[in-house]
Each structure stands twice: as C-alpha cells, then as structure tokens.
Symmetry: C2
Subunit: 251 residues, 2 copies
C-alpha cells in the first residue's frame, strides 16, 4: 500500500515537514520510545487522529515493511480548518454522519462544488478517508471544496449553530417535504451514512428534519443523490428570492 | 466469466427456453452452420442484438471453453417491452444516451423507482449491460423499473413523441434552467453518457434543452446526480399543481 508511511523516523519527518497530508496514525499499544511521545505531541498539534492498535494489526498494515510500532496513513488531500466553512456570505455546509464509501464522498464533493456549497463536515470515525478514490470520484472538485474533520460530530453541529446556520437533517422520519424548508439563509444539511442513516443523537441536534418522498417500493436514495436533490433545491430557492435577483447581469 | 454461455447447443437452448435473459450474442464472422442460422433467427425474434466478431475475440471471451463460434452473454434481468413505459397515467421516461458505467445505470434506476418514473430507455450500443452490478447498484429497484432497449435511440425518442411525451434534454447548452420547464405533462428526460454527453442528433430531437447551473469550477455533474435533480423537480412540480392536490387523503 503506497499510502502507508512506516517507522518512527519517516512518520516523524512526515509530520514535521507537513508535505504529506496525514489521514491518521496507528501506534502499537505497548510502544513507549521517547520519539513516539514526540510523534503523539505533533499529531495532537496537527489534529491528526491517533489509534492505538495491537502490534499484529500494524504488522498486517505494514505488509512486511519495518514499522517500529508506528504507521501513518497518508491522504491525497488535506483537511481544511473549520473556519474555511464560513468564507461565503450565506454558507451551505454538508454534514456527513458516517459516509464510508469513497465514491459517495467524492460524488457529494463534486455536487457541492457545482452548487458552490461552502464545504463538507465529517467526523473522525466512520468516514471515508480523503483517498485518491475520493479525489477521482469528485472529478477534481476536491481541489476546491474544503473538507473539515471534527472529533465529535454533535459538537461540530453545535459549532455550526453558534455561527448562525440552520441545521437541517435529511431523514425518512422528516416532518416536512424537502421543498418546504426555507434555505435562503445560512444552512447545514445533515445526511446519514450508507448503513445506518442519521444517528439518534445527531438527529436530535438538527433544527429541522426534511424528507425526500419515496414513491415506490425501495426505502432510500443513494447518499450522494439525496444530497444533490436538496443542494439543487437550495439553488432553486436562492435564485427565486428577490435578494438574489439583484445579482442578474447589470449591463 | 459465469455470464457467458458458450457453444451452439447451449446458446440455442438458452434462446428457446427463455429462462436466461440474454444481453447479446457474439458470432464468429466465418460461421455458417445450419444451427447458427436458427440461432440468428431466434435472436431476431427475441430482439437480442447479434455482433459478428473475429474468432480471436470469441476465443478470448470463452477463456478456454469450447464455443463453436457462438457465445451468448447472459444478463441479470430482462429488458422490458416498449409498451411498459406507458403504464402510468403521466409517464416519466429517462432516456440514457450512452451510459456505460453500471453503477451510474443502477443509481439512475434506483432514483427512478423512488420517483415512480415509468422506466428507462437505452440504445443497444454504448450502454451498460443489465448485469448483477447494475442490480446491486440499484439497491433492488431494478426489479420494479422497466428498462427498454432500442436499436436506434433517435427512433426511440420519436416513438416517445408519437405517444405524446415532451422530450427534454439535460445539457450544458440548455436554453432554460431545469426548473423553468413545465413537467406536469407526460415527459421524457434525455441524459448523455459519461464521456461525450448528448450526441448532436439526439440533442436535435429534443423538444427542449434544460441546464443545471454549474456554479463552481467543474464542468459537469455525475449522470445519476443530474437525473435525480430533475426527477425530483418533476415530483416537486407535480405535487404543487392543483390537479395533484385532489389526490390528498379523503377520509
């Protein structure tokens, strides 16, 4: 696996140089060298998640390379700072609660870029890493859309609320149709993962829950499709509002 | 490849029994046995496309199995008759002009089923076969949505027009926004393939061309995403029209 950086010195150098974006670091439980402490310190500073693992897990990951109890997984692109989500005037943030399929993550990034959404918010756990597969599935859009990672998604949602965003969950149990919410203000859309949908706690932290009608026999849409339908409803509403009509060509 | 049926007798039996849906048949150019003529006859009756190939192509496809100059490719599900598209009162047909990625075809089928669209129309050439990958990507929706195959897509579009459908192409060169067309009547949406978009002749046969705004830097949306955005715009419009409000619960 060419996205694995194995061994104390290579991982330390990768963290210090900041040349390679690091997705996460795996450390053997029983490791206690002084240099490893420095690595942990740097990882904390850089917001890189660290997972303690059995040495056998690291042996499998390293595929024969000497790892000295520490392996970093490189990512194709870097995560952005939380502040990057608030660059536009009326932010649209897409919050993904456990999207693990890189094709889905890439497809959401691609549509978000097309709709000029501000960015994507994901949790550390149960999220597809920012791999080359994500970059490819995004058709290059990942170069333009900030993806922000937070330890705890509920805290992240609360932070969005503090910044004035309305948090709208997309959920089969939604109490209104996707078109009945007014998205003309700053807004965050929250979508659940492929396997479990929105978690209860995340759902409870939404200001509103909207549903996409399922008129046939199947139970749900693909995540990237559901995100796209609501993102383009936002585009439709914002184009229709008088405040936006001012943006028409003025020649 | 377990979807290949090799040899004169097995292919003949598959066509006669109708137990296995057949995607297409490959025949060696220089084959002239009497039984092969019967196979060609049956294939014509059953609307199964036949491709004449060099014998070396068949050798490669057969992977060592004896093929006697004929190989059938089985599909996971059958194509439907053209008439299946007109079962609902106000049909919504999704026409795919060269969608070759089975994940995209499956995703379109999934969304079409969720929107209760009438079915999918595809051409024989440059279309993903109805493989198990399509079935899986459709999340089971392929059991409910008829997929109709025509030799010539332009003729197919003309046949839709004769049945009273408005044919709307989704194209970056569209003259109106996707929300500006009135989809409350019978309608067909035409989308181009992953690589080349709508072909000129197909585009010229559309009654209208609508565009999805691309507000960022990238040039296009994923096919299944573009289809979904317009399919849900149709749902939105049809829910909003007075004729549909009569369908509200009457208890």
């Amino acid at each position: 696996m060419d996205n694995r950086i194995c061994g104390i010195h290579p991982v330390y150098e990768a963290l210090v140089s900041r040349r390679t974006p690091i997705e996460r670091i795996h450390i053997a439980r029983e490791s206690h060298s002084g240099k490893l402490k420095e690595i942990l310190e740097l990882a904390r500073e850089r917001d890189v998640p660290v997972r303690k693992e059995e040495r056998s897990v690291l042996d499998r990951m390293a595929e024969g390379t000497v790892h000295q109890g520490v392996i970093a997984v490189a990512s194709a692109i870097s995560y952005a700072d939380f502040e990057a989500l608030f660059k536009p005037d009326k932010p649209v943030v897409v919050v993904l609660d456990g999207v693990e399929d890189p094709h889905n993550l890439g497809a959401v990034i691609r549509t978000a870029e097309a709709c000029r959404a501000s960015g994507i918010l994901v949790p550390e756990r149960h999220s597809a890493p920012l791999s080359t597969t994500v970059v490819k599935a995004s058709a290059g859009a990942s170069a333009y859309v900030p993806v922000v990672r937070v330890k705890n998604l509920v805290n992240g949602i609360d932070a969005l609320k503090e910044r004035g965003l309305w948090v709208v969950g997309i959920d089969p149990a939604g109490t209104q149709d996707w078109t009945d919410f007014d998205y003309t203000g700053p807004v965050a859309l929250v979508l659940g993962g492929e396997h479990r949908g929105l978690r209860r706690l995340v759902r409870e932290h939404c200001d509103a829950l909207v549903r996409l009608p399922m008129l046939g026999n199947i139970a749900s849409l693909n995540i990237s499709v559901a995100a796209a339908v609501v993102l383009y409803e936002i585009v439709r509403q914002r184009r229709a509002t008088p405040s936006n009509s001012k943006e028409a060509p003025q020649e």
